[in-house]
C-alpha cells in the first residue's frame, strides 16, 4: 500500500494534486483543535476586517475570526462526509455483495429497490425530513439519512463485481468448505471489491458534502454546528455579498471547491490505478 501511494505520488500528477488539495483541507480541519476561539462565540474579534496579518482570512460581521471558524467548519463538514461514507459503504457493500452472490430473486428484489432509490429525487425528500425532524435533526441523523439515500449507485457497482466472483472457483470451494453466506461475503468476496469501494468512497464524500453544504446554505441544518454551508448561510444573513465582505463567501467557497476537486482527483487517479486499462489507454492516447 505504501509503495502504491509512493508510486502514485511520484508519477501521477492528478494524484499529487489531489493529495496536496485534500491535504491542505485536512490540515485546516486539524488546526481547529488548537483554535484560540470557541467556535460558537461571536463578537470576539473586530467586525469586517479584510484579510490581514492579524486575521489571515479576515473577520466576519459577527465578530469571528474567519480562519479559525473555517477550520472548525471544515472539520465538521469533513466529519459529516466521512460518516456518510462509512454508513453508506456498509449498506452498499452488504446489499451489493448479497445481491451479486445470491442472484436470482434476491438480486432482482434488491436491485429493484436499488434502482428505485437511484431514480427518486433525493433533495425534496431530505428537505421534507428536515421539516419533520427539526431540532432532532442532528448532523449525525442527517448523515444517517443521507447515507440511507445515497448507497444505491455504489451498490450496483459492487453487485456487478460480486456477480463475476460468484462463479469463480474459490467461491465454490468456500461453499464446499461449509462457509455460510455471511462468511463467504466477508472473507472471500470483500477483498476483491475493496479497491472499488475505496474510489467510490471519495466520490460519495464529494456527493454528500455537496448535499450538506447546499442544505446548510439554505438553512436546512442545525445552525449551532459550524459548517462550511453554515458559514455561507450566516454570510447571507448579513448580506455579505452586497456589503462587500467578499472574504466571508470567498474563503469558504474556495476551500470547499479545493476539497471537491481534491477528492475528485484522488478518486480519478485511484480509479486509474485500480483499472489499468484506463491508464494504458491514457498513455495510448498520447500517440494519436
Amino acid at each position: 500500500m505504501f509503495v502504491v501511494i509512493r508510486d502514485l505520488l511520484r508519477h501521477n500528477g492528478d494524484f499529487l494534486a489531489g493529495i496536496v488539495l485534500t491535504g491542505f483541507v485536512v490540515a485546516m480541519a486539524l488546526l481547529s483543535f488548537v483554535s484560540p476561539y470557541h467556535p460558537l462565540d461571536q463578537f470576539v474579534a473586530p467586525l469586517d476586517v479584510p484579510p490581514s496579518a492579524g486575521h489571515w482570512f479576515g473577520t466576519t460581521s459577527r465578530g469571528q475570526d474567519l480562519f479559525w471558524l473555517l477550520a472548525y467548519s471544515i472539520r465538521n463538514t469533513l466529519a459529516f462526509g466521512i460518516l456518510v461514507a462509512i454508513i453508506s459503504r456498509v449498506l452498499s457493500l452488504s446489499i451489493g455483495l448479497l445481491a451479486g452472490y445470491r442472484g436470482g430473486w434476491t438480486d432482482r428484489i434488491l436491485m429493484s429497490i436499488n434502482d428505485t432509490f437511484i431514480v427518486i429525487p433525493l433533495f425534496p425528500i431530505l428537505v421534507l425530513f428536515y421539516f419533520v425532524m427539526r431540532d432532532n435533526m442532528s448532523w449525525v441523523l442527517l448523515a444517517v439519512l443521507t447515507a440511507f439515500l445515497g448507497w444505491s449507485y455504489d451498490a450496483r457497482l459492487i453487485r456487478s463485481v460480486a456477480l463475476s466472483l460468484r462463479n469463480r472457483e474459490f467461491t465454490q470451494t468456500a461453499v464446499f468448505a461449509g462457509m455460510n453466506t455471511r462468511e463467504i461475503l466477508a472473507r472471500e468476496h470483500l477483498p476483491f471489491v475493496l479497491p472499488i469501494v475505496f474510489s467510490t468512497t471519495l466520490n460519495n464524500m464529494n456527493w454528500s458534502i455537496g448535499l450538506e453544504v447546499t442544505l446548510a446554505v439554505l438553512g436546512f441544518t442545525d445552525i449551532n454546528r459550524p459548517s462550511v454551508g453554515g458559514l455561507i448561510y450566516w454570510a447571507n444573513q448579513h448580506s455579505a455579498v452586497v456589503a462587500g465582505i467578499w472574504w466571508w463567501i470567498a474563503f469558504p467557497v474556495g476551500l470547499v471547491v479545493m476539497l471537491f476537486i481534491g477528492l475528485y482527483l484522488l478518486a480519478v487517479s485511484m480509479n486509474e490505478y485500480i483499472d489499468p486499462r484506463s491508464r494504458l489507454d491514457r498513455m495510448g492516447g498520447q500517440g494519436r
Partner: protein, 346 residues
C-alpha cells in the same frame, strides 16, 4: 480431428514471387508505468514471405508474438506498440513500405480491396449496434464500384457461398449464432476478393463441428479466389489440415518454417517437435512429455536462443549466441544450432 498432414495439395508448384515479404521486422511495446519504462519485444527480428495463392500458417503458443506480428503486417499500429525496425513489402502496393507508413488515402484504397482481415475474437468484431447490412456497406461498398441494388445482390450471392441466407443482413450481430457470425466475418473479409487475407485465430471460439465446417468454407473461398492467406492459430491440428506452409514462432522470433507437410514429417527445431508431439494421435498411447518451464517474459528475454532454458538439447553456445534462420531443405528454414541432433533423435 486427425493430425495427419494434409496431402490434398502437395505442392504449389508455381513461384510467382511473394505477395508479402517481411525483413527483420521488430515491433515492440513501449510501456511506461509510473515512471518505469518497460520494453516488450513482442516481434524481434522476423523475416518471412507469403507467396501468392497459398495459405501460410503461423503457429506458436499464446504470447509468442504472433498476434503482434499480424498487427504489424496489417498496419494496426497503435501505441504503445511501435515498429522499431525492419521492412514490410506488399506486391500490390508498389513503392511503399508497409501499410503503417502509407498515407491515409493509399491505406484507404488498399484496405479491404487488397488486404483484408479476419480477426481474433470474431464474436466482438462486428459493431453490436449496427445491422449486418450496414457493416457490409461500411466495409466494402466503396471498393465494389456498384450501385446500391447491385451491391446488395453481390452481397447476397457472396453470402450464399458461406451458406448464409440474405436475411442475416437484417440481423444484429447478437441475434446470430457464433458460427453464423464467423461466416459473416469471412464473407465480409472476402467479398472484395482481396489479394491477401489475414486470419487471426478465426475459429478459436467455435466448437469443433462448426469449426470444421467454417474452415472448409474458408478453404473453398480461398481456392476460388486464389488469394494469399496468413492464417494464425495456436492449434497445430488446424494448421495440419489447412495451411500450405507453416511458420513457428517462439518468444517473438520465427524459429522454423517449412511446407506444412515437411514440418510435420521432419521438424528440426526442438520447440516445433514439442508442438507436434503434443498433438493427440490415433493409436498412440505413449505418455507425452510436457515441456518444462514457462515461456520467457518478452520484457526480459534470455540471451542467446530464447528457447534454451526449456530445451533438452541446449549447449553452452545456445546460451550465448542467437541462432540464425538457416535453410535445411526446400522451403525449409530453421533457427537451431543443434538441428541435426534434433533430427537424428527422432
Amino acid at each position: 480431428m486427425s493430425a495427419v498432414p494434409n496431402t490434398a495439395r502437395l505442392t504449389t508448384g508455381r513461384d510467382t514471387g511473394p505477395v508479402v515479404s517481411a525483413r527483420d521486422l521488430r515491433a515492440w511495446y513501449r510501456l511506461s508505468m509510473f515512471g518505469v519504462v518497460r520494453e516488450v519485444k513482442a516481434v524481434d527480428g522476423v523475416s518471412f514471405e507469403i507467396r501468392s495463392d497459398e495459405i501460410y500458417g503461423l503457429a506458436g503458443e499464446s504470447s509468442s508474438g504472433k498476434s503482434t506480428l499480424v498487427k504489424t503486417i496489417a498496419g494496426a499500429i497503435r501505441p504503445p506498440l511501435e515498429i522499431v525496425g525492419g521492412e514490410i513489402a506488399f506486391n500490390f502496393m508498389a513503392g511503399t513500405d508497409g501499410l503503417h507508413r502509407a498515407s491515409g488515402e493509399v491505406a484507404g484504397q488498399v484496405r479491404w480491396r487488397h488486404l483484408s482481415y479476419v480477426m481474433q475474437g470474431s464474436m466482438s468484431v462486428l459493431n453490436p449496434v449496427r445491422r449486418v447490412r450496414a457493416s457490409f456497406a461500411d466495409f466494402a461498398f466503396r471498393h465494389m464500384g456498384l450501385d446500391r441494388a447491385g451491391f446488395e445482390a453481390a452481397v447476397v450471392s457472396h453470402l450464399a457461398r458461406v451458406n448464409l441466407e440474405a436475411s442475416v443482413l437484417d440481423a444484429y450481430p447478437h441475434e446470430l449464432s457464433g458460427g453464423m457470425r464467423q461466416r459473416v466475418t469471412i464473407a465480409l473479409a472476402t467479398i472484395c476478393r482481396p489479394n491477401f487475407v489475414i486470419a487471426d485465430e478465426p475459429t478459436t471460439a467455435l466448437d469443433v463441428v462448426v469449426q470444421k465446417e467454417v474452415l472448409g468454407m474458408f478453404r473453398g473461398i480461398q481456392r476460388e479466389m486464389g488469394s494469399s492467406v496468413l492464417f494464425v492459430t495456436h492449434d497445430m491440428g488446424v494448421h495440419a489440415h489447412l495451411t500450405d506452409r507453416l511458420g513457428i514462432m517462439y518468444a517473438g522470433r520465427l524459429v522454423e518454417e517449412a511446407r506444412t507437410r515437411d514440418l510435420f514429417a521432419r521438424p528440426r527445431h526442438p520447440y516445433t517437435r514439442h508442438l507436434i508431439e503434443s498433438l493427440p494421435r490415433i493409436g498412440d498411447d505413449k505418455l507425452r512429455r510436457g515441456l518444462e518451464g514457462s515461456p520467457p517474459s518478452l520484457a526480459d528475454p534470455p540471451d542467446g536462443c530464447r528457447f534454451h532454458p526449456r530445451c533438452s538439447f541446449a549447449t553452452e553456445r545456445c546460451r550465448r549466441e542467437v541462432p540464425a534462420m538457416t535453410p535445411v531443405g526446400l522451403d525449409h528454414r530453421v533457427a537451431c544450432f543443434e538441428r541435426d541432433r534434433v533430427e537424428a533423435s527422432q
